[in-house]
Amino acid sequence: MTVQTGIGARVRRKEDVRFITGRGRYTDDINRPGQLHAVFARSPHAHARIGSLDITKAEASPGVVAVLTGADLAADGIGPLPCGWLIHSRDGSPMKQPPHPALSQGTVRYVGEPYAVVIGETREAAQAGADLLDPDFEELPANVDTASAQGVAPIHDGIANNLCYDWTLGDEAATDAALASAAHVVELDIVNNRLIPNAIETRAALGDYDAGTDMLTLYTTSQNPHLARLVLSAFVGLAPEHKLRVVSPDVGGGFGSKIFIYSEETVCGWASKKLRRPVKWTADRSEAFLNDAHGRDHVTKARLALDAGGKFLGLKVSTVANLGAYMSTFSSSIPTYLYGTLLAGQYTTPAIFVEVRSVFTNTTPVDAYRGAGRPEATFLLERIVETAARELGMDPAELRRKNMIPKDAFPYATPVALVYDTGDYQACLDKALALSDYAGFPARRAAAKARGKLRGIGLSCYIEACGLAPSRLAGQLGAGVGLYESAEIRVNPTGNVTVFTGTHSHGQGHETTFAQVVSSRLGIGLDQIEVVHGDTSQGQFGLGTYGSRSLAVGGSALMKASDKIIAKGRKIAAYLLESKPEDIDFEDGVFRVRNTNKAKSFGEIAFAAYVPHHYPLEELEPGLQETAFYDPQNFTYPAGAYVCEVEVDPDTGVTRIVKFTAVDDFGQVINPMIVEGQVHGGIAQGIGQAMLEACRYDRESGQLLTGSMMDYAMPRADDLVNFDLDVVRTDCTHNPLGAKGCGEAGAIGSPPAVINAITDAIGVRTLDMPATPLKVWTALQAGSAAAKGS
């Protein structure tokens, strides 16, 4: 039984039936009797002072129940939205964190920033009321540009140069020495383009306050409902933790954007308490574009030092990262500990130094988006390595191989604070080269040329740090929360099992994967296991799903809880079978006295625990239910090698991916079908970043120019191809599943492979993402003009 359903099996997903029949239950599908609707009044300006705000007309509008402002929030003691990771600058000073009120007071700092909420009997009535708010805006100079942010007027009082922090990591003197002595120095300016997450379900919130019990229930689209409850209680002051229940039902994708504590969720909860009626808000897509935390937005200068033979000697990186107008929940950690620490990549570069200046601009707050810091590091590294190979006239695969950490060198301490536990990078590269027929590329290029097309091939060898990380270390680095995960296994009296996890599934398939883990461990059928998540009133505290952590950390907690169940089951079995616990074997759901046929099934043990007529009550409590918390000893380090092959039409710049190969090492895989799906989706988002997606603000007005799916190019079916996948397996050495995490790899590894391929095809050194046909065509024209001119 466990062979078909346990670890390693391609089990069809348990959760699918409700989704394919229209029976999923997302936040917007929930309605409560007497429910009101919230519409947020948002700034039309990128930067403005609110002179006066007359709410009387809106209040008088038919169907409007209340108009609430930032002043009302402050009067009720609802605090600003906090940033949960404290970063220190190189001089030891703490980051400058401006207050981030849920509804702005006095000044608005980006287009779309909410400054009031109108609550009505219907959404239409609330919208009509909001249309009557006409504050007296005094426009102020606005800046949306990352690179120049330090040179313009401060957008927050008292924060000079718009600089939040100036952070460094690594040995600057050693890196400078390596650059000074190097035979070759490759320098590259890199922009990591700003992205808008666009989960297909927009964010939504429904606050439902029960005055009888003083309990506030907040239904919301969160990737981490327990963390939302903690932050909304302890920092924002919405309700005491035991009087706040956060429910995240089915959630339609997250990609990071649903981790954070936002204004609208806060306001719906607060307003429900205030008005004593349920208050609901569902973002329309335009609001999602304006208000969901954006991703990436780095401007970087990097220098790579190499010796005459092509060995990497040093890497020096200087980055300006855009935080937007306010600090979102984890914004400070993304361009620092999730970026600078990854700059060794798969290589033995002995000296690395990185400095990151994070700046405020009049744009939507920026935070984690699939990969979060690691795609930015990987893009920089794999672009500069590829460029080095071209400038040295070496095969890019060979240059990488020459510098890779050998597989017998683990554990390997990098010069940027991480200790990789395991990996086999050469094996990934070899497999990817074989699968992509790298050797046959010159012939394909020649054939394309004969057809008037330009072919290019690009590699990317990535590493990521997932399953963050020991709580103690994170705390030392400034994290405001722990990074463990919890699990509870409740064996029911009839022998089936309810599993509670503190992680949250919004597409990842935990209801299946986690059931497979428990099925394997306890030897019971998948249909006997129910996985529950997403409701703080059901499961114990947990930290949610992000950073590819759920299986590596949450699955490990599940293993621990399973072990406790088995340990107690052994004691019960020993009593019933008149043996000793240490003589009881447990296999395939059966407790057996070693080398005998005396046995009790898992179900019999469960029944004995709950109907303890024949039970060691003097030594053992009845019941069979165990909880576990698992705190990881280290990050996990998934790695892989990606190969992208493109064909460019030189007449139009239209670029087609003709083949995309991904070889990943995720350690032990529980469900290969689900893991492949994660890789597909990640690659699609990476290709989106590389070829299609660009968040653009107007530099003068600060207006978001790409504010709809008609302006922001989401990857569609006809933009992509089928992907060729394979795996290499080196198990994580420090968690009980040997699992590394797979959710972000595709988005991390793919952008440099794509850009390396396109620059190879058209023979240019740099090309900013997204490589649209216009950009590719323009680069081609510039190249041929330069060739003619020389």
Partner: protein, 170 residues
């Protein structure tokens, strides 16, 4: 549907009108504003929440339903335009234990992750299969005809596979 502008002018935009139509084979009616979209009628008046709203520019296709047997985006049509027509939503094509072949194919081929775009994908997929009945349904055709439905999770790889398989089984 001719004279619809006259209809709007006659009834203004502040009063409700009664719409009577057939949804999933059953006659239904409800009071809506003249400017209520079909998707909101289906979700809010009828409580059929399997049809989703993913954008506000008719780009994403999460609201795809069948209208007289053809897939349409339910955000591109007013509820009153459904008067006298046949609407089928995801709830109407198959149920747990009695799945439509296209639904079964999505589960079998892992054609969904978060599930939010999935009802629209399945309804569009059935349309693709029916439009190409009798012809060989190539990957290229599926990708081209799926252009109006956006998925952020799957990278489309397994959706394309699902639609090919579902079309074979239909």
């Amino acid at each position: 549907m001719t004279g619809f502008g006259d209809f709007l002018r006659e009834f203004g935009d502040s009063m409700t009108v009664k719409v009577t139509t057939t949804v999933n084979g059953k006659p239904v009616s409800g009071d809506v504003e003249p400017n209520t979209l079909l998707v909101h009628f289906v979700r809010e008046n009828l409580g059929l929440t399997g049809t989703h709203v993913g954008c506000d520019t008719s780009q994403c296709g999460a609201c795809t339903v069948h209208f007289d047997g053809r897939p349409i985006k339910a955000c591109t049509i007013l509820a009153v335009q459904a008067e006298g027509h046949q609407v089928v939503t995801i709830e109407g094509i198959g149920q747990p234990g009695n799945l439509h072949p296209m639904q079964a194919a999505f589960q079998e081929n892992h054609g969904l992750q978060c599930g939010f775009c999935t009802p629209g994908m399945i309804m569009a997929g059935i349309g693709i299969a029916e439009r190409n009945k009798g012809a060989t349904l190539s990957e290229e055709t599926i990708r081209a005809e799926l252009e109006g439905n956006i998925c952020r999770c799957t990278g489309y790889h397994n959706i394309v596979k699902s639609i090919a398989a579902g079309a074979r089984d239909m």
